[in-house]
Amino acid sequence: MIEINNVEKRFGSAEVLKRINLKVEPGEVVTILGSSGSGKSTLIRCINGLETLSGGAIRVDGNDVSTAAGLAAARRRSATVFQLFNLYPHMTVLQNVTLAPIHVLGQPRAEAETRARALLDLVGLTAQADAYPQRLSGGQRQRVGICRALAMQPRYLLLDEVTSALDPEMTGEVLDILARLAAEGTTMVFVTHEIEFARRISDRIVFLEAGELIVDMPAEAFFSEEGGLAVPRIRKFLSKMTKD
C-alpha cells in the first residue's frame, strides 16, 4: 500500500502541495487529474523520491521514503514511467531494460535478458531490442520506458503524463498497453490528461487543484452528475478538457 499522509511541498515560498492525504491499495488504478501546475507531477516525484518532502510522510509498503533505507526499499517496489521517456541514450533498448534488474536487483544477466525480451515481445518491440533509443519513434520509446519499468517487477507503477509528448496515434499504442496492464491487476498511480481513458481504466479518480486534493472518489461517481460533476471546478475542467 502507498500511504501519503499530510504531504506538503514548497519550492521557496510557493506551496505546490498542501496537506495531501491519499492511499493506494494493491490492485487499484488511481488516476490523478488536474490542470497543469496543480501539483500532479510533483506528487509522483515525491512518491519516487525525486523531491524531498517539506512536511508529512509517504510510505510504500511501510517504507518511509524520507529515509535512505526506506527510499531504496520503496524504489524496489515501485517503478516510474516518465513523460519525456528519459531513456539512457548510450544504451540499446535491451540494455535500457536490463540495467536496473542486473545492477540493482542483482539478477543474472541471462535471466534479465530473457525477461526483457519477453516484455519487449509483449509491447511489439521484438525487432528493436538492439536498436538505440534515438532510432525509435516517440511511441516506441515510451513502450521501452514501460518495459524498463515492468522489468523491475514492481508492485506499483507510477506513470507521469506518459502520453503528453506523443501524437494521437502513438498515444493509442501506449494506452492499449496500459489498459492491458490495468486489466491484469497492476497497481498504478496515473497522472494524465487523457480523460476518457482514465474513466475507462481507473478504480478511483483524485482531483488536484492548486496543490490541494479536493476530490477522491470512485471513477464512476467522479463522472456522474451527483458526484464529481456537481463540483463546479471539476465540471469546468472536464468540459474544457473534452472540448480540446
Binding site: T80, F82, L87, Y88, P89, L99, A100, Q134, R135
Partner: protein, 223 residues
C-alpha cells in the same frame, strides 16, 4: 642545390627508433591525460565546493603556462624533491598533467550536456551514486566528447616534440641529430614536418571512426 636523398638512407633506422619513442610517449600520455582528465572533470562537477575549486585552479593553471615551462619545472625540479625518474618518464608525466587539464574541460562539457531526466530515471530505478556516475554519466560524457577530445590528443602529439628539449630522443630529437650529422637540416626538417602532419591526419581519421562507433544510432544532427 639538389642534394642526394640517399644520404638520409643510413639514418632511417635511427629515425624509426625516434618515431617509436614518440608513439610510446603519446600513447602513455594520452592514457594518463584521459584518466587524469576524467578525474578532474568529476571533481569539477562534484557537490563539494572545495573539490570544484581545486579542479578549476588545476585546469586554469596548466592551460595558461607554456608546456616547455611546465616540462622544465618537472625535469629540473623533481630531482630536488629526491624523485629521480628518467627524462622520458618526466616527459610523459608532464604531458599527462598538461593534457589532463584540456581533457578535463572537454569531459566536463560532456557531463553538463547530459539531460537531467536521464539521471533522474537512473535514480528512480535505484542505481547508486557510483553506478550512475560510472554507467550513465561517464559513458555519455565520453561519447559526446570524442571529437573535441580528438583535437586535444592531436595537440598532445605535436606537443611531444618539445620532449626533445629535455634530452628525450623521440622523433624530433633523432631528427635533430640526423640533421646535424648529414648537414641536410632543410631536407630532414621538411620531411619531419610532413611526417607529423601525416601522423595527426591519421589520428584525426581514427577519432572520426571512434566518434561514429560510439554514436551508433544517433541522428547525425545530434551527433
Amino acid at each position: 642545390m639538389i642534394r642526394s636523398w640517399n644520404a638520409l638512407e643510413p639514418h632511417l633506422g635511427f629515425l624509426l627508433e625516434g618515431f617509436a619513442l614518440t608513439v610510446a610517449a603519446c600513447v602513455l600520455a594520452v592514457a594518463g591525460a584521459v584518466v587524469l582528465g576524467a578525474l578532474i572533470a568529476s571533481l569539477r562537477t562534484a557537490r563539494s565546493r572545495a573539490a570544484r575549486a581545486v579542479a578549476a585552479v588545476y585546469c586554469d593553471l596548466f592551460r595558461n603556462v607554456p608546456f616547455i615551462v611546465q616540462l622544465f619545472f618537472f625535469f629540473y625540479g623533481l630531482p630536488e624533491l629526491g624523485i629521480y625518474i628518467g627524462a622520458f618518464e618526466t616527459g610523459v608525466l608532464a604531458m599527462s598533467i598538461a593534457g589532463g587539464a584540456f581533457v578535463a574541460d572537454v569531459i566536463r562539457a560532456g557531463i553538463l550536456s547530459i539531460e537531467q531526466g536521464v539521471i533522474e530515471a537512473a535514480r528512480v530505478f535505484g542505481l547508486g551514486r557510483w553506478q550512475i556516475f560510472s554507467r550513465i554519466v561517464m559513458p555519455n560524457a565520453l561519447r559526446v566528447s570524442v571529437r573535441p577530445m580528438g583535437s586535444v590528443l592531436i595537440n598532445l602529439v605535436l606537443t611531444s616534440s618539445i620532449l626533445s628539449t629535455i634530452t628525450v630522443n623521440e622523433l624530433t630529437g633523432t631528427a635533430k641529430i640526423v640533421a646535424a650529422t648529414t648537414f641536410m637540416p632543410f631536407e630532414v626538417y621538411a620531411v619531419l614536418l610532413v611526417l607529423y602532419a601525416a601522423l595527426t591526419y591519421a589520428l584525426s581519421l581514427a577519432v572520426a571512426g571512434v566518434h561514429r562507433r560510439l554514436n551508433r544510432g544517433m541522428p547525425e544532427a545530434v551527433a
